[in-house]
């Protein structure tokens, strides 16, 4: 997977407003990516609007995700991905049991576990 250098930054809002695109695609997930790929290969000019930060359209972005995942002590399905208040996303897909402690207290317990064990 090789993103062209700076591909996600090469267009700005001012310049995009001047273009009448063949297609405007909302979202660059699995559906948006394939639509953009098929249309562009057929010669059409495409604009993608992506709600996310867009910092992952690079190799470094992928590696940052990995690093964040490895560095998270109590991992769940969202651990690699940053929270962006400006676009909503589903909660972690692993359900929490009713008897689970709330997240904050789970973190406290974890800190306790990380302390050196006195022998």
């Amino acid at each position: 997977m090789i993103f062209p250098h700076g591909a996600a930054q090469r267009m700005d809002h001012e310049a995009a407003a001047e273009v009448f695109y063949d297609a405007v695609v909302v979202g660059s997930g699995i559906s948006g990516a394939i639509v953009a790929s098929e249309l562009s290969r057929a010669g059409h000019r495409v604009l993608i609007l992506e709600a996310g930060p867009g910092e992952d359209a690079t190799l470094k972005g992928y590696e940052d995700y990995l690093e964040r995942f490895y560095a998270t002590p109590f991992k769940d399905n969202q651990s690699p991905y940053p929270v962006t208040p400006d676009r909503s996303r589903p909660d972690a897909t692993r359900p929490r049991r009713p008897q689970d402690p709330p997240r904050a207290s789970r973190r406290v317990r974890l800190h306790r576990a990380e302390r050196p064990v006195r022998l």
């Binding site: 979202g27 394939i34 992928y62």
Partner: protein, 479 residues
């Protein structure tokens, strides 16, 4: 990016639920019409599977077809469970079925099949890395497919997006949240999309994007959310309705012997042979996943195991390591994936008080339907049968099973939301009974396509990312 990566096709009967079983609605497409697009999707994703394993319940392939890469082997855990499950007879609605642990097709890189594409073979999209580590890009069984593949073997949308950006004809504006689809009231055509920006460079502003054709690909919650927030309910009034997901029942237990849990992809095999059959007239069909990642989904294992051993049992050193292996490598979790039929009352609505913020809040209501509930009891029964016949003594197996099952919420469905969302801009043959046509084009707006799982009129038993792709491949801009 955090999808698990199984890529089974839907069954021919999944497309004709109304006609065959008087349940749900029919697709405006048949399996035979869609089959060539499955092939293209399997090329795009890079699917590893063997046709002989995937020919069941009417799944058919073009003569001589092979998947791009060879099938991934069953895990040791799968084989341990198969010892007990294979050949187990089940009777449902008067028909007899024989259970079998079958490998799933995988959307991740394996060994390319030289016979693919009439002998031209297949070149997977491999890994690139900035470190000295040779990653190879083939699946290494690291188990943390969800949420991220450490060696870039699992397909993610970035692989396709990178290809699109390489053409030089695609511009990407990130931190741009579409907020309104604006329609010309006379022609019904979309004139532009309004979007809001955020972030350090741009600050907050509202801007517009113009074009000839518009494609909304924001998945089954956000796509209808955007349309409804724009006041576009569609002629049928079905925008946002028929929200579907898979209902899950989890059963988990300890095996009497170390079975290699935590090796492989999250799920390499399971029971697929009850995905279809005449019983669907009376109850929902289901598939069973054998989870190589142990109890993770249900209990938060392995992290909770570690906390428990340290905090509650005061284990440390070699003893702690040994006990972790003992506990985790014996974990068995079966996930029963139950189909949910469409119902207009389950829907996505927009909370008006959030309309002004960039993250408009969508509310969703999902309830289990009758046929989903009906499916749960046989699922649990066969879970017990399956587990016991995996030669586990009742003391180690049934005790945890019974204990855990008592903790289930409701009538046994443990997790009714898996985010396998569908139905909210349902596909059909008429503007009065559906939102989009068979090409995923909006009936009301000629130059607008709503693409994704939301177009699907039935969910079957797959993670329907593959269907997202299949359905949108045929489309071309209206000229």
């Amino acid at each position: 990016m955090h999808w698990e990566g199984k890529t089974p096709r839907m069954l021919p009967e999944d497309f004709a639920m109304g006609e065959r079983f008087e349940q749900g609605v029919d697709w405006p497409l048949s399996y035979d019409q869609i089959e060539p697009f499955y092939e293209r999707a399997e090329r795009e994703i890079g699917v590893s599977a063997d046709v002989e394993d995937q020919s069941y319940l009417g799944l058919s392939y073009k003569p001589g077809y092979v998947f791009p890469m060879r099938g991934m082997p069953l895990s040791y855990l799968d084989k341990t469970v198969a010892k007990g499950v294979d050949g187990t007879p089940v009777e449902l609605d008067g028909e007899h079925y024989e259970l079998k642990v079958r490998p799933f097709p995988q959307g991740r890189n394996g060994i390319p099949n030289p016979a693919y594409d009439e002998g031209r073979g297949f070149t997977p999209v491999g890994a690139v890395s900035t470190s000295q580590v040779e990653e190879g890009g083939r699946c290494q069984g690291n188990i943390n497919c969800v949420p991220i593949c450490p060696v870039q073997a699992k397909y993610n949308a970035g692989k396709t997006l990178a290809k699109a950006l390489q053409t030089g004809r695609v511009d990407l504006l990130a931190q741009s949240v579409a907020s309104k689809v604006v329609v010309d009231p006379d022609s019904g055509r979309v004139t532009h999309v309004e979007y809001r920006t955020y972030g350090d460079n741009e600050g907050r502003s509202t801007r517009i994007a113009r074009g000839r054709l518009f494609v909304i690909c924001a998945n089954a919650i956000e796509t209808p959310r955007l349309m409804l927030a724009s006041g576009l309910k569609s002629t049928s009034g079905l925008m946002g309705r028929n929200l579907m997901d898979h209902a899950y029942l989890l059963s988990w237990a300890l095996l009497p012997e170390v079975a290699g849990t935590m090796r492989g992809t999250v799920c390499t095999g399971g029971i697929s042979d009850l995905r279809g059959g005449g019983f669907r007239r009376r109850q929902a069909a289901f598939a069973v996943d054998i989870h190589n990642d142990g109890w993770g989904w249900a209990t938060g294992s392995p992290y909770t195991d570690l906390l428990n051993l340290v905090d509650n049992e005061n284990r440390f050193g070699a003893d702690l390591r040994r006990e972790l292996v003992q506990q985790i490598s014996r974990q068995l979790l079966l996930a029963f994936m139950v189909e949910v039929p469409p119902s207009p009352s389950k829907r996505v609505t927009v909370d008006a008080s959030f309309k002004t913020s960039s993250a408009t809040c969508a509310r969703s209501s999902r309830t289990r339907s009758r046929s989903t509930r009906c499916a749960v009891s046989p699922s649990r029964a066969s879970s017990r049968a399956g587990s016991t016949s995996a030669s586990a003594p009742p003391t180690t197996l049934l005790r945890p099973l019974r204990l855990r099952l008592r903790q289930l919420r409701g009538p046994g469905v443990r997790d009714p939301r898996r985010h396998h969302l569908a139905g909210t801009h349902i596909m059909g043959t008429s503007p009065h009974s559906s939102v989009v046509d068979a090409q995923q084009r909006s009936w009301d707006h000629q130059n607008l396509y709503l693409v994704g799982g939301g177009s699907m009129p039935s969910v079957g038993h797959l993670e329907h990312h593959i269907d997202d792709r299949r359905a949108l491949l045929p489309q071309r801009p209206a000229t």
